[in-house]
């Protein structure tokens, strides 16, 4: 559907996005950079899911939506499907891709092989740096999945894990349980608020209205 863009163009754009956010905009603040990249992915996933579900009927349950992500959504994006889908039937899904397209050309420093004892401390440090560099590139696809699912009505949290390049695992955790928990908190707050701010009923209403959206936002970001 629509126009085509060269794949190397998209690859270079994503590489440059991650490196600008990590090295220039939020240098020394990797968590903020990760948040931003994930938010960009969220927007993209939101709009893409709108496009790709245009001619489909509604999804009957969450499993159907996740299967859509694994099959049709992933093939529209990467021309292949997710290789393995695991679930614990309690709202957590693990999507495994054995050759993730955006990681296909990534390779790290071949580690130095001297068995010098004094260099024992440096080995885990360099491994951490490599792991961090590679994990930064996964925040964008996590955001895409989160955006797509939230557009389909499933608030969730997505995290990624690289076991061995170029395979990666994406963990999707639905926030239903957390949502209910925070809703209970909100109701408890409403009852106490009504009691303590009895004389200023209008302000208590305002407090309730403003607080509620904040709780749901927090539930969405809770990992």
């Amino acid at each position: 559907m629509g126009r085509e863009v060269s794949e190397s163009c998209v690859d270079s754009l994503l590489t440059e996005m991650v490196s600008s956010y990590c090295d220039r905009f939020y240098a020394n603040k990797p968590e903020l950079a990760a948040r931003r990249i994930e938010a960009i992915g969220f927007q993209v996933g939101h709009q893409l899911s709108e496009r790709y579900t245009m001619e489909r009927p509604r999804f009957s349950d969450n499993l159907e939506a996740i299967k859509f992500i694994c099959k049709d959504f992933w093939s529209e994006l990467f021309k292949k499907q997710i290789d393995n889908l695991k679930t614990n039937h309690k709202g957590t899904f693990v999507l495994q891709d054995n050759r993730f397209r955006w990681l296909a050309r990534m390779s790290i420093d071949p580690s130095s092989e001297d068995g010098d004892l004094s260099q024992d401390n440096s080995a885990p440090v360099t491994e951490n740096k490599a792991a961090q560099a590679t994990s930064m590139h996964l925040y964008f696809p996590c955001g895409i999945i989160r955006g797509a699912l939230s557009n389909l009505g499933i608030p969730c949290a997505v995290s990624a894990d690289i076991s061995s390049l170029p395979a990666c695992e994406l963990l999707v955790m639905e926030c239903i349980r957390l949502y209910l928990l925070s809703y209970a908190h909100c109701i408890a707050f409403i009852s106490t608020a009504r009691y303590s701010f009895f004389s200023q009923s209008r302000s208590s209403c305002m407090i309730i209205v403003i607080f509620h959206p904040c709780i749901s936002e927090r539930a969405l970001r809770f990992r």
Binding site: E7, S8, D11, S12, L14, T15, V18, S19, W102, R105, M106, S107, I108, D109, P110, A133, T134, H137
Partner: protein, 169 residues
């Protein structure tokens, strides 16, 4: 010269005999003379230390290129000897052969120079050098972690290159 490749690595040119140890070493320089990659598979004699070796090789090729362009009998306009030439300007020098080795050279429009030293009876390696350049683009340039202009430290590139070098006739 055509440097366009598809998104997947194009199949390597057919190697008539794969006898293993034909390629001795490879150098990759960028346009500023920084040695991006040096790999050796079969080098019995080391004469200079690494830095001097790289500088010597880069200087040699720079001079050879300008010399061959200056001595070209078919070109009408020739610059003065020593004037730096754009890649592709003037005639392009491919290889030279001695009784113990053959050196093949390729320069891309972006100034990446690939030098392959092989057994003297190796045939024309221009297609092989183009394939190596394609490998460079796929595994180094498109690697999100690589910073251009720095020495290449990509495991994928090294392994694919080693594998290919073993199959060069």
């Amino acid at each position: 010269m055509q440097f366009f490749g598809g998104s997947e690595i194009s199949p390597s040119p057919p190697a008539p005999t794969a006898s293993g140890n034909n390629a001795h070493m490879i150098y990759v320089f960028n346009r500023n003379g920084v040695c991006l990659l040096y790999r050796e598979w079969n080098r019995p004699l080391h004469t200079l230390n690494q830095q001097q070796d790289h500088k010597l090789m880069f200087g040699l090729l720079f001079s050879l290129k300008s010399l061959t362009a200056k001595m070209d009998p078919t070109s009408a306009e020739k610059g003065n000897l020593g004037v730096p030439q754009l890649p592709g300007q003037g005639c392009s020098f491919h290889s030279f052969r001695t009784n113990t080795y053959k050196l093949s050279f390729m320069e891309s429009p972006s100034g990446i120079k690939i030098i392959l030293v092989t057994h003297p009876r190796t045939g024309d390696l221009r297609e092989s050098l183009k394939y190596i350049y394609n490998l460079y683009v796929e595994y180094v340039v498109k690697n999100p972690i690589y910073t251009p202009g720095t020495p290449i430290r990509c495991e994928l590139f090294n392994t694919t290159l080693d594998q290919y070098a073993r199959s060069i006739a």
